[in-house]
Every structure is written in structure tokens, then in C-alpha cells.
């Protein structure tokens, strides 16, 4: 039971982290990124490759850094064309999760990468309690990321990002460095996705390119839409709801004897598609819309600034 619970918690945590990253890029800063899964894969591979040398914490930091660096490069390329076209570029990275030459080489040459249980963790806890430990670790990671991102959203940086999202021209006219802000948002979101990939690698202890399919991107978008763009609380609730629904439909198989495994998988994915469309039509603002903020939320003492 504890094993199942921890599996569920880790799945929700990974989804929530990916969603938090996307929410920062898309929800807060208005930058659409269809390459989500590429950054997750990048984080996972960075973790798997560096964990023997850097330890588990070091590997996680490296994963975040690599993903952030890659995001910066891509943001530079795509914000040059700001507006409609950047999304196409990210298709490249998103499929790159499967096809980039480096990964192909890894996959062809040595088969799947094995990511050993973090050495420090194994010293601290016996294998029997690894599940329970991982559960706590995943939840802690989500809480910390959530708090940091929430702080960023409330900070002057978050305010500037929302301004750039709502109207880049006005924000630019007020002296905000639009390009730099966008790149920062993209890099921070990318780092969070890298951390998600890292957790994914720790959880499965074994990764190969076929795990990183575009369905991860679809889940992340659905979580952001369901939770409400720009709201971190909504996102965590949204990601939790989606993963719970997906897990719950696993048991449909017992109820419906007529369908086999492949059909059940198809049914679940199809339902996700229907879910995305229904959400967009019926409740485009999501469960928790981004809180409407006034000047005095930021400057409570300022009597005149209203």
C-alpha cells in the first residue's frame, strides 16, 4: 500500500513540477512552450549522467542548470521572433526528447541509462523504506518549488512579467527590459522542468527516450488550463486532479470486462482529449483564476497609490 501511495505521490509531484514550470512560462509570462517534454528529458538525462560523480543533490542542481541554460538559448532564438511563431521551434526540442543525436547515441550505444539510487539516500535509509522516503522527498520538493515560485510571482519580477504578458509594448515603454524578462521567465520555468525530470529519474532509477512522449506536454497543458493560468495553487490542485483521474480510470478495467489493456489505454487518452476540449469551452479561466491584484496588495501603506 505504501508503495502504491508513494508511486501515486511521485507521479503527482512530477506532474505538478512540470506544470509549475509551464505555469511560470505560459501562465505568468505568457510564453507558450510546446517543448515541455524536451526539458524534462534533458533534466532526467543530466541527472542520470552526473549522479555517479556529483551525488544526488548535485545531480539535481546540474539538471536544473542544464535545463535552464537550454531554455535560455531557446528563449534567445524564439524571442527574436516574438509573437506567433516561436511555438514551432519548440516542436523541435519536444521531438528532440526522442530524436536528438546525443540521446540517440545513448539509446543506440548503451541501451537505457541506469540511474542508481542516490548514494547518499541509500546510506541513510534501508531499501525497504526507500518508497516512504521518496514520497516525503517528492512532496517536500513540490512544496519548496511552490513556495519559491509563489514568492517570485509576488515579487517585482512577477509583476513585471505579468505586465509583459498583458502588453509588452506598454511594459517596454515603461522601461521594463522585455526581452530579458522573457528570457528569465523561460529559464526559471525550464529549471523547474529540469528538476521534474530529475525526480522522474530518481523515481524510475532507469530512463530511456521512449518515456518522454508528448503526452507529458499534454498533461502539463491540461494541468495549467484546469488550474487556471497564472495561479500556482490552482495548478497544484489541477495536476493532482488530473493524475488522480488518470489513476482512477486504471481501475475501470475491473468494471468493464469487455475492454482489453490497449483499449483501456486508448480510452483514457481519448478521455483526456475530451477533457481538454470541454475545459477550454466550459471553463476557460480554470478552477482558480489568477487573483486580481490591486496596487494596495503590494503597497498596503501607500494611501494614494490606488
Amino acid at each position: 500500500m505504501i508503495a502504491y501511495l508513494s508511486t501515486l505521490a511521485v507521479l503527482v509531484s512530477v506532474a505538478a513540477l512540470v506544470g509549475l514550470g509551464l505555469n511560470f512560462q505560459w501562465g505568468v509570462a505568457g510564453l507558450v512552450n510546446f517543448g515541455v517534454v524536451g526539458f524534462v528529458a534533458l533534466g532526467a538525462y543530466a541527472t542520470a549522467l552526473t549522479v555517479p560523480y556529483a551525488g544526488w543533490l548535485g545531480a539535481m542542481v546540474i539538471a536544473a542548470a542544464v535545463s535552464a541554460a537550454m531554455s535560455t538559448v531557446l528563449a534567445f532564438l524564439s524571442t527574436r521572433l516574438c509573437g506567433e511563431l516561436p511555438r514551432h521551434r519548440h516542436h523541435r526540442l519536444w521531438r528532440g526528447g526522442r530524436y536528438s543525436p546525443a540521446q540517440r547515441k545513448l539509446a543506440d550505444g548503451r541501451g537505457a541509462r541506469h540511474c542508481r539510487h542516490p548514494a547518499a539516500v541509500r546510506l541513510l535509509v534501508p531499501a525497504a523504506q526507500y518508497d516512504a522516503f521518496l514520497l516525503g522527498f517528492a512532496v517536500l520538493l513540490v512544496i519548496v518549488t511552490f513556495l519559491v515560485l509563489e514568492m517570485l510571482v509576488r515579487s517585482p519580477l512577477g509583476r513585471a512579467l505579468r505586465a509583459v504578458r498583458d502588453d509588452p509594448t506598454v511594459a517596454g515603454a515603461l522601461g521594463k527590459p522585455v526581452l530579458l524578462l522573457r528570457i528569465k521567465a523561460f529559464a526559471i520555468g525550464g529549471a523547474v522542468m529540469g528538476i521534474a525530470g530529475s525526480l522522474h529519474a530518481f523515481y524510475l532509477t532507469y530512463i530511456d527516450p521512449s518515456q518522454f512522449t508528448s503526452i507529458i506536454t499534454a498533461y502539463a497543458f491540461m494541468a495549467v488550463i484546469l488550474g487556471g493560468r497564472g495561479s500556482n495553487v490552482g495548478l497544484v490542485i489541477g495536476a493532482g486532479t488530473i493524475m488522480a483521474l488518470i489513476e482512477a480510470t486504471r481501475f475501470l478495467k475491473d468494471a468493464l470486462n469487455v475492454v482489453d489493456g490497449a483499449q483501456l489505454a486508448a480510452l483514457r487518452l481519448g478521455l483526456i482529449g475530451i477533457g481538454i476540449i470541454l475545459l477550454l469551452i466550459l471553463r476557460p479561466q480554470g478552477m482558480l483564476a489568477e487573483p486580481y491584484q490591486r496596487v494596495r496588495d503590494f503597497f498596503p501603506d501607500d494611501k494614494e497609490g490606488r
Binding site: R95, Y99, P101, R104, I225, L269, I276, I281
Partner: protein, 287 residues
């Protein structure tokens, strides 16, 4: 060897031309890239397979029925989904088309499983001509695509309907002042794109085999072709498709065949850096 590669490349490219046309036409009218092209292609291929292999109809009739059913599905998806979201912006429409793509693909998977299916056609020896090996499928693909492209071009540029479509693509509000109903034009565009996707599904099914991921194999090259030609430009989409097809085949001279798909990505990337409106596009498409 080089001649063979060029021939293969042209045929591969012509296979991409129809989906790229479908993508670019919908983009022209509705201003969003329809992510569901791949899934609609798969759906068309399965419909044709059902008619052809299960009901034993000749391939030509099966294709015609599949084209009609796919057109109906495309119009239905507009009525149920895209029309309701028309004012919501292109990103929302794009995400909705991702959802639609999941639905269509998994309807096929639910009904027919993951196994690959083959269309019921006679196996024939390839024709040899001046040292070139030409498959019958390649001949069929090339001829039907050429005919379709000519028909669509004539429709767009010589008929009143085509004029109305181009007017709506150019400026929907101005077109409606002149009495062109936008909704009708949008539905007709969806129907056309459904037809051409079903046809390309059949051609793709002849080239490979029909399976739930059939459309996925074409998704990226098709987007690359449409972007290369300049989204919204029909003649550009066809040219772009031929260029992508040739580039993918010719790249096998210097790259291992595994990396063939990289070529499409590289072309998109380079193009967006150098000339982001594409080869035939007007000014960059902005909202």
C-alpha cells in the same frame, strides 16, 4: 543512385503536399495551426481501410467514401469545438486541436488496436526505367497528388468559391460586408482539408501500413513544409513539401537514415532564424 534519391524525394514530398495544403488552408482562414492534421490523416486511413479491407470495396471507392466521412468529421469538429472557441485566440485553438488529435487517434486505437493493417492492393513488381526503380505506389501517389493540387489551385484561384475563401482569409470582416458568410466558408475549408487529409491517409497507408501512429510520422515534416512555404500560402505549402521531401531523402547521402527527421527540424530552425515568413509568405503573420 542520385536519380533514385531525387525520385524518392519528390514522391515523399508529394505525399507531404496534401496535408501541408490542408494545414495551410485552415491556417489561412482561422489563423491557427491545426495540430490535428496527423490524427485526421490516421482517421482517414482507417476509414478507407474499413471500407477497403473489411467491406471489400475497391480502393478508389473506399477512398471516396473515406474522404466524405473525414470531411464530415472535420466539419463536425468545427461545429462542436472550434466554432465555440473562435474568439479565444490562436493558442487556445491550438491546444483544442491537440485535444482533438488525442481523441481521433485513440478512437482508431480503441476500435482497431495497435496492430498494423494493410490496404487490400495487389502486389506488383516495381517498374524499371533507365535504371530507376519506380513502385506502383509511387506512381499512384504522384499522379493523385498532382491532380489534387491542380484541382485545389483551380478551385482557389478561378472559382467564385475560391475567391470567397481568399477574401475571408485576407480580411474576414471586409469579406462579410460583401455578403460572404464566414461560417460557411470556414465549414467548406474544413471539409476540403478533411478530404485531402483522408486522401493523403490512403496514400500514406499504401506507402507504409495503416497504424494508429501513421499520422504522427508526418506531423513534423508537414508542419515544416507549411512553415517553409509560408503559412497560409497554398503554392508555398506544395513547394515546401517538395523541398522537405527532397532534403530528407538526399540527407541520407551524408547522414545515417535514423536521423532523417532531424532534417525537418533543422530546416524549420534555420528558416525561422533567416526568414520567418517562409518562402512565399507575405509579411510575418501577427495577430
Amino acid at each position: 543512385m542520385l536519380g533514385q534519391l531525387i525520385l524518392n524525394g519528390l514522391v515523399t514530398g508529394s505525399l507531404l503536399a496534401l496535408p501541408a495544403l490542408a494545414l495551410t488552408m485552415v491556417f489561412g482562414i482561422l489563423k491557427f495551426p491545426n495540430f490535428a492534421v496527423g490524427a485526421m490523416l490516421t482517421f482517414g486511413a482507417y476509414t478507407a481501410w474499413v471500407m477497403n479491407a473489411m467491406f471489400g470495396l475497391p480502393l478508389l471507392i473506399a477512398t471516396a467514401i473515406a474522404a466524405m466521412i473525414s470531411a464530415a468529421v472535420a466539419v463536425l469538429s468545427d461545429v462542436l469545438v472550434f466554432q465555440r472557441l473562435r474568439d479565444a485566440g490562436s493558442i487556445t485553438l491550438l491546444v483544442a486541436s491537440m485535444g482533438l488529435s488525442l481523441i481521433l487517434e485513440n478512437v482508431c486505437r480503441f476500435a482497431f488496436g495497435n496492430a498494423t493493417r494493410n490496404l487490400n492492393v495487389d502486389i506488383a513488381r516495381p517498374i524499371r526505367w533507365h535504371g530507376l526503380r519506380i513502385n506502383h505506389e509511387q506512381l499512384v501517389t504522384a499522379t493523385s497528388v498532382v491532380i489534387c493540387v491542380i484541382v485545389i489551385q483551380l478551385l482557389l484561384y478561378t472559382s467564385p468559391l475560391g475567391r470567397a475563401m481568399r477574401a475571408t482569409a485576407d480580411n474576414a470582416a471586409l469579406a462579410s460586408v460583401r455578403g460572404i458568410e464566414r461560417d460557411t466558408i470556414v465549414r467548406i475549408t474544413w471539409a476540403l482539408s478533411g478530404c485531402s487529409l483522408a486522401l493523403s491517409g490512403v496514400l500514406a497507408g499504401l506507402d507504409r501500413a495503416v497504424d494508429p501512429l501513421l499520422g504522427w510520422n508526418y506531423q513534423i515534416p508537414v508542419f515544416a513544409a507549411a512553415i517553409l512555404g509560408g503559412l497560409g500560402s497554398p503554392i508555398g505549402a506544395v513547394t515546401g513539401a517538395l523541398v522537405i521531401g527532397l532534403a530528407e531523402e538526399l540527407s541520407t547521402l551524408i547522414l545515417p537514415t535514423n536521423y532523417r527527421q532531424i532534417v525537418s527540424f533543422a530546416i524549420i530552425l534555420l528558416l525561422l532564424l533567416v526568414r520567418n515568413q517562409g518562402l512565399f509568405g507575405g509579411k510575418a503573420v501577427r495577430k
